[in-house]
């Protein structure tokens, strides 16, 4: 059996681990445009911040590929999938045949059309190791940075660079920061913290024009900067599958086993549109844990095992300068809320089940809440009043507790 994996990040690593849990001997080839050993992609901000060394950014040990019998073709780009011929064709014309193929091509930054962008000298995106190296080399204490986008990537970038530059200004179209994971109250809490550290925010606005190092916003305001970082969102890399005739919606459409619509071709991670149990529909969940779950599931199925991934959901754990935001699921239904000056907890209940939560600086044992969402546990089976005060196993029945604590799980 010959497995070919396009991509070398979380989903691909997970796929390798999934394959090797069943098939110790099959040939595995990893082809990736990025010429790096697998690294924890979200670690790029921690590296700029000085919290993690470049050596410690490795997502798996140095000898991972060797130990798993994986042949790597790094710095090589796949141009085409020949689904009928069961081979991939590289940009230089070389082809690599496969029996089972994983498409784990991830996503790329979306750059909205902005007049005069070509004339901006120091402009960056913030997604890859190379992005980090490029941005890092441009930083210096007298520089003013303009970040377009107050989402997860933009704000982690801010954390990484704030101490290394003179000024950071963040502009976002939305009315609040981190709109994808926080409600207004939670967003305000993190915004105040970041403002107290010197970050400037401009909400409900966007850059429409650049003249040298001056940005003109939609509101008419002008902002001078030295470095521009664009972090408004990402787009899935679906072209290979689309051009091969596979079904593509926003992402590459996959079933519960991570099969695409093309035979022997699987997809996982940021490029894939899999099932999200919290909305009972397929959507892209461009989150690291999800990439692992999907990649591993794909690998097991590729190796002849049977595995389904039917409990995908939004999961975010993100921190800024010592504060922590942990969120999961969807924010619908009845809300239970507790707020102090520095903490925030909001639980969402719908149809007698926990469907989502927001936790800021009050997150111990949050996984107990997450497990209630993942298992769709009827709240009638647990002591929810107790759970509202804090996540705990005492809220479960004695029998359930014994299953969790008195046997091998």
């Amino acid at each position: 059996m010959k497995y070919v994996l396009i991509g070398n990040s979380t989903a691909a690593v997970a796929c390798i681990e999934g394959i090797r849990s069943l098939d110790k001997d099959g040939e595995i080839v990893v082809i990736s445009s990025e010429n790096h050993h697998c690294y924890g992609r979200p670690l790029i901000s921690y590296c700029l911040l000085g919290r993690v060394s470049k050596e410690n950014m490795l997502y798996r040990p140095e000898n991972f590929y060797k130990d798993n019998g994986v042949k790597t073709m790094l710095g090589r780009t796949v141009a085409e999938i020949d689904a009928a011929g069961k081979k991939v064709v590289l940009e230089n014309g070389e082809s690599v045949s496969y029996d089972k193929l994983l498409v784990a091509t991830g996503s790329r930054p979306f750059i909205p059309p902005m007049d005069g962008l070509d004339g901006v000298k120091d402009k960056f995106t913030f997604m890859t190791y190379d992005d980090m190296e490029a941005l890092g080399s441009a930083l210096s204490p007298e520089k003013r940075v303009l970040v377009i986008g107050a989402g997860l990537i933009g704000l982690k970038c801010v954390e990484g660079i704030l101490a290394r530059v003179k000024q950071v200004t963040v502009v976002d179209l939305a009315d609040r920061i981190l709109p994808s994971i926080l409600d207004a109250a939670g967003s305000e809490m993190i915004k105040s913290q970041l403002e107290s550290l010197g970050v400037k925010f401009v909400s409900n606005d966007c850059a429409v024009k650049f003249e040298g190092n001056t940005a003109t916003l939609k509101s008419g305001a002008k902002l001078d900067f030295d470095i521009l970082v664009t972090a408004v969102g990402v787009r899935p890399n679906v072209e290979l599958v689309k051009n091969a005739g596979g079904e593509v919606n926003r992402g590459v459409v996959v079933d519960a086993k991570m099969n695409t619509s093309l035979p022997d071709i699987y997809a996982a991670g940021d490029c894939a549109e899999g099932y999200d149990m919290t909305i009972d529909a397929k959507r892209i969940l461009a989150l690291l844990p999800n990439a692992y779950f999907q990649g591993r599931c794909a690998g097991i199925n590729m190796a002849g095992g049977v595995e389904s991934h039917m409990n995908g959901m939004p999961l975010n754990a993100i921190g800024f300068f010592g504060s922590h935001v942990l969120t999961a699921g969807v924010y619908e239904g009845e809300a239970f809320e507790e707020k102090t000056a520095s903490t925030y907890k909001k639980l969402f209940v719908k149809g007698g089940r926990l469907v989502g939560f927001i936790l800021i600086n009050d997150f111990l044992r949050a996984g107990i809440y997450t497990s209630l969402i993942r298992n769709a546990t009827p709240l009638s089976e647990v002591d929810f009043e107790l759970l509202k005060t804090e996540p705990q196993l005492l809220a479960f029945s004695k029998e359930v507790r014994a299953q969790k604590l008195a046997r091998k799980v």
């Binding site: 979200p42 410690n56 844990p289 996984g367 497990s371 604590l405």
Partner: protein, 148 residues
Amino acid sequence: MKRIYVNEKWCLGCHLCEYECAFANSGLDKMFKLKGRMGELVTPRIKVEGEDKGEIHFAVNCRHCTGSICVQSCIAGALSKTDDGMVVIDKNKCVGCFTCVLVCPFGAIMPSPDGKAAQKCMLCTDNVKGEPNCVKYCPNNAIVYEER
């Protein structure tokens, strides 16, 4: 592999396991030196649930579970599984994002005292005790260390 299992009906709720865990991982040579330093120097990796005056008590620490969703979810590759199934954390690789806290269904992984990394039970293989100190000093066999 031997793991720690809970006999809920025998747990007195005395919290000795928490102190023995903290002591084992403190690097201190005498238990009394822990006084006043819990929270700052070391925090337990085992947690006793139940109110002091309540009827039900039990201790929770890492189950070293088969699925290990924490290992699968770790953004840094800091969590891994040994060949015999123990879930271990490399605190030098951990960036303290606490995705593991977000996904552990047992609530068995937590921030270390400085808040900069996660910590978890490694069955005292990471300190001088060598085997679970919490189990060794449990006065009522409410936690045991065995194969099941």
